[in-house]
Symmetry: C2
Subunit: 346 residues, 2 copies
């Protein structure tokens, strides 16, 4: 984008003023308002000329001829990339968040649910949270509990103390004693390993002859299948906030969006692609491939639980949002839960 530099200082200031005013009020911004509130030294006629240029270059649009200007997706993009002033969450918000996580729930799920709740509350948008991707996480502990003679519960404690469980049906009856022995062996062999590494460890488990070997393989296969196949669930909260937004008085728009949010699979795909090294990622309007998000923006970032355990957290709302404020608050919650989860993960 060469255009990112082809705006002179004054055009930048005007674009910034339009975005700021429009995101705050929801009313298209006219030249008179701009002259009065932001550019006292200039006349409205001058600003009209500049506005016309910004419409011509695609940064602004007008809903109809006698209305003020609103930013286009491109205008928002330029704003967040170059014009947005770095913001810090206000002390009141910081305190609220700190208090919410002071006596944080003692489990991953609890922390994530609370994060979704808090983020929805302090941003006034719909929050989105995914649990950490565990396919590459290392195994810390394995336990086999006999349920029936021919079925066992496999309990897996991963790095970060994430717990996975699954019921496995065995080919023949196996006692709890045998299962415990196998669990002990598994703990010895696979502890500290994960992902593709597991496969190689299985093949080193001993000669093929043993009955045990077949059971172990079954157990490990189910673990691996479970880990890889399980589609990421996207927690969300704050749908009620959307109803207050004037852009959703027409429920038809909301319907498509809600379907995306409640169904989750498509969102999961988007959230998984958030880069771990980036700070905060912003996806604006039509930059989204999903049609349901055409008039929405996402503000996403990652949080960290342990070495290989990272998840995504963020919000989705109308493109007209207070980006500076939202970015600061998403970042705040991400940092806060990273700390809370580090406490859980040791």
């Amino acid at each position: 984008m060469i255009e990112s530099t082809n705006l002179d200082g004054r055009k930048q200031q005007i674009l910034k003023a339009v975005v700021s005013d429009y995101t705050a009020t929801g009313i298209p911004v006219g030249s008179q308002v701009l002259a009065a509130k932001y550019f006292i030294a200039l006349s409205s006629a001058t600003i009209r000329n500049e506005l016309a240029d910004l419409v011509g270059t695609g940064y602004l649009a007008q809903p109809h001829t006698s209305a003020g200007r609103i930013p286009t997706d491109r205008g928002y993009r330029y704003f967040v990339d170059f014009l947005m002033a770095p913001e810090a969450a206000p002390p009141g918000i910081r305190r609220t968040v700190r208090q919410e996580f002071e006596h944080a729930p003692n489990s991953l799920e609890g922390v994530l649910e609370k994060a979704a709740m808090v983020l929805a509350q302090i941003t006034g948008n719909v929050s989105l949270v995914t649990a950490p991707e565990t396919s590459e996480a290392r195994i810390k502990h394995i336990d086999l509990v006999s349920l029936e003679p021919t079925s066992t519960l496999v309990i897996l404690v991963l790095e970060g103390n994430v717990i996975k469980q699954q019921i496995v049906n065995l080919e023949r009856a196996t006692s709890q004693e045998d299962l415990s022995r196998m669990a002990a062996m598994l703990n010895h062999k696979v502890r500290g390993h994960g992902g593709a590494d597991l496969t190689t460890r299985i093949s080193q488990l001993g000669p093929d002859r043993s009955e045990q070997r077949r059971i172990l393989e079954k157990v490990l296969e189910s673990i691996k299948a479970y880990q890889s196949q399980r589609q990421t669930v996207v927690l969300h909260d704050g749908v009620r906030n959307l109803l207050r937004q004037p852009e959703f008085v027409e429920v038809s728009r909301l319907e498509e969006l809600l379907e995306l949010i409640e169904q989750g699979a498509q969102l999961a795909g988007i959230l998984q692609q958030v880069a771990f090294d980036k700070d905060v990622e912003i996806i604006i309007g039509r930059e989204n491939t999903s049609s349901g998000l055409r008039e929405c923006s996402l503000v996403l970032t990652t949080y960290r639980m342990a070495e290989r355990l990272r998840g995504t957290i963020g919000i989705v709302g109308p493109t007209r949002m207070l980006y500076g404020q939202v970015v600061a608050r998403v970042r705040l919650v991400s940092q806060t839960i990273s700390e809370a989860l580090a406490g859980l993960a040791h």
Copy 2:
């Protein structure tokens, strides 16, 4: 309610026709429509007289003078108590549900999430699902996994193979070997017990002198605290369905309802009070204490996982809903997941 019997046969038929027509179409029902569609033998004038009586006794109301009649809460109540024909879910729906749970997810949470999804889909309302109340469930297996020298992960397998977990901080460093020994002892002592019974078992655990005893008490205390304090979470799905309902074109109503649904605590209270012995419980409009549910109805029932493990499942929607159809489908899903969960619980 003496009034439940003071309607003669024809008034009952007319009330039934009004409820049926209005729930199906959403349009207030006039005397001409009734005469043409349901009572060809009668003139519209006769029906008008009856309608006027039903308004006088509080079973019907009219939005304004020149509109047709709609049922009041009392009218709906009379309908579901005395007039509603028992309905069976159609084969297509039965097949859909069966297929959805044929390869049911292997965990309680998975089944409940799927149940919420399916119920929302086939009833076109918002589904509500609570996990079984576990405070009285018996303990099947206990495992202690060392995380840090001074913290351990307590894993509890309850009846029905429900898994609970919690991190417990210990007063002094304890090795995995010691923990395993304690777990073995605990398994021996408390297996098959639960609820208040646990407390007595703890006091029988041996002399007070031992270091172990203190650790065990701490573990068990945390287990009990966890079990009792944990507020029930209400899963939900299908909020998007509400947007299609004409009663929610005004989003302000939806807002209050959504707050209830997303916050969940108040709904949890309502759902917990559903009687286990009843078939399906219906709560209509102002029978709800919450103001957000004034214009909503709930159709709730319980499902069964194991002896002491019962949860609630149902839907919430506008009072104008197809009660017969919804009742049949809620019942269907309840039965289906009870079977699926019995498979998990053995």
